[in-house]
Point group: C2
């Protein structure tokens, strides 16, 4: 096993609707990321996408994007883990380059949710035999967890308000974010319409289109390609019991906890060394539960980090520094690749107005389904 670094990145602005097709969106970011790394070709192309089967009638995305990007010949495959697909693809690319079997790899996440109503396809992240027939969807499972949290810890839905406020504040100065226009206040969040109670509009990430790509190479060669490579210190994945109802405690995200603990061990660093945390804020309850599962807050207290401003850019553990899933946007299969691009921006001092002060270690966590699958990454240094 050898060390692996990110040597190039590219992201398209997340939009409510991109006019171009997934082949073009994907190929564009692949070319741009290769260009960023000063590469003409790569050895492998790993694609992440969740919804193209239903929304674009396309089940062979990797070869399609490879061809459109002018890379026909290259090894290409698709990696999936429901809503954590981008992180799963990054994990595979990390293993590929780490093994020495692949020298350079591009990970491209692309999702176009605007072609059809994506909700039925998204619900297929759940158990089709034992959850979906009851009408369960990703949002209803998150609503279940949020209600249980509110009951157990005796807090109202308002406790989660500042996750959205923070994300929207950070998105405003990110040119790739979907929500940049409007300042979002705590009052607006609290007054927003119920979606699946207790989840309100501002507790949810939006449906959107986007594509992002990152290029990986062995750390030993990284400075040949980039003046500012960023090292992947750890990449881990874990699962929980599939259904919330099968878990002894649905508020303890075991896969989040386990993959984070393994990542800290793999990188040989303490949690306290993490300077910021790009987490999976598809729903505000998940931000709260991840902060608790990883250990940044004790159970029942995750929301207080938002309330107190500890998650802000100048706080103790900044999250969603470029807007997060909530306000940069959550084009599913592309999301964790966007997060990786943003981590590279932060660690290399290119985060613009949202730049953190001298961050060294970043954590990324991506969730598949109702916290059934979780991948965790640590990034840092050159």
């Amino acid at each position: 096993m050898r060390d692996v670094s990110v040597i190039g990145t590219s992201q398209l602005p997340v939009k409510k609707r991109c006019e171009r097709s997934i082949r073009t969106l994907g190929a564009d970011v692949v070319r741009a990321a290769l260009n960023d790394a000063g590469l003409e070709r790569v050895d492998a192309l790993y694609v992440s996408n969740m919804l193209s089967d239903e929304l674009q009638s396309q089940k062979h995305v990797a070869a399609l994007v490879a061809d459109e990007a002018g890379l026909a010949g290259v090894e290409a495959l698709q990696v999936r883990a429901a809503t954590a697909s981008g992180a799963a693809a990054l994990r595979v690319a990390y293993m590929a380059v780490s093994s020495g079997l692949v020298e350079t790899a591009v990970v491209v996440g692309v999702e176009k949710m605007s072609d059809l109503i994506p909700t039925p396809a998204l619900a297929k992240a759940l158990d089709a035999e034992r959850e979906a027939p009851d009408g369960a969807t990703l949002i209803s499972q998150n609503a279940l967890a949020m209600r249980l949290y509110m009951e157990r810890y005796n807090v109202s839905a308002d406790a989660f308000t500042h996750f959205a406020v923070n994300a929207h504040r950070n998105a405003r100065q990110n040119p790739n974010a979907i929500f940049r226009e409007k300042a979002v206040t705590a009052d607006m969040v609290r007054a927003s319409r119920p979606i699946v109670p207790p989840i309100r509009l501002y507790d949810c990430a939006p449906i959107c289109d986007g594509a992002a790509a990152v290029v990986l190479a062995p750390t030993a060669r990284a400075t040949q390609f980039s003046d500012t490579p960023v090292r992947i210190l750890a990449a881990t994945g874990a699962t929980d019991r599939f259904r919330l109802s099968d878990r002894s405690d649905p508020l303890q995200l075991q896969a989040s906890h386990l993959s984070a603990a393994q990542a800290f061990q793999e990188a040989d660093i303490e949690r306290s060394a993490v300077d910021f945390f790009e987490l999976h804020d598809a729903f505000s309850i998940m931000s709260c539960l991840q902060l608790e599962a990883v250990g940044f807050a004790t159970p029942g207290c995750g929301w207080q980090l938002a309330e107190e401003g500890a998650i802000a850019l100048n706080g103790r553990i900044p999250i969603a520094t470029m807007g997060g899933l909530k306000a940069r946007g959550h084009p599913i299969g592309a999301t964790a690749v966007y997060q990786t691009c943003e981590i590279v921006q932060q660690l290399t001092g290119r985060a613009g107005p949202n730049q953190l002060t001298d961050p060294h270690i970043a954590m990324l966590q991506s969730i598949g389904g109702a916290a059934t699958t979780v991948f965790t990454f640590l990034f840092g240094g050159a």
Copy 2:
């Protein structure tokens, strides 16, 4: 990078219809393969499946199978490359164990095509914007290639007859094959009804259900788990231009040729060292073109290997030794995992009545779409 071996296998009999669900079929072969390797748990579970999005409303298969197999906690993800998905998953598992990041991994392929008519979902392996709107399907693209072959080399459809005869003969004594009852003669193949001309019924692999699993471990530790481990000597992937019509010669399978050449280089062996070849005989034209692309026959002469009996169990280059996709069956996402299990059977002397005489080196090739994606593997020794 370290050497990787197969230390356990399991396959369910391929059937026209299995009553159980994909979670159960997948979990059963995972448990059986772990049992074969004497393992209770593994570090990672890589799933291959192509059609569950449409046929089972399930987009989170890896975690679902992991949970059902009692492996919750384990890293789990799904790998896809259309009809080559099983091979793509095996490639990922190979890289994972080779890297040292994963010690033991199970690859499980599961496909249940009987729940709905699978043809529309299968056609999504093609280009949804530029091929499918014309009514193109996987079979029509293969028919195009077959017609072109017949015209260029001035042969009739009868030239392909013995691919089916050979596959069916070999399936009859494989307890896991879907077609075991009936002896299939050349006359039957020639008289079979046209599907998409010039492709006839016996030129096509059947629609079916199945699941298979293999367990991988570092070669250095393989004999701890198995008395007869089988080493993976090479694992490579390549792509071609996506559409047949974009290729300078649709009868030259570039991805097949390229991935095979890379595999020979990686394993440092000559083509002549290959004792048998489990190829992707979803359509008889593909058997012919692969034999030519890899170099077992010159262009225009692949069918002669079938005619002359060179592909038979006692021939120069046996193919489909346990029935192949044509007659063992082609439960898409599981197919290359079945092929791996059969290669292990042959190399360890457990192929029953179909046992080859002392084979040392096996080749596996799996095709995604219209030969757009190809993965090649070489196996051999301990």
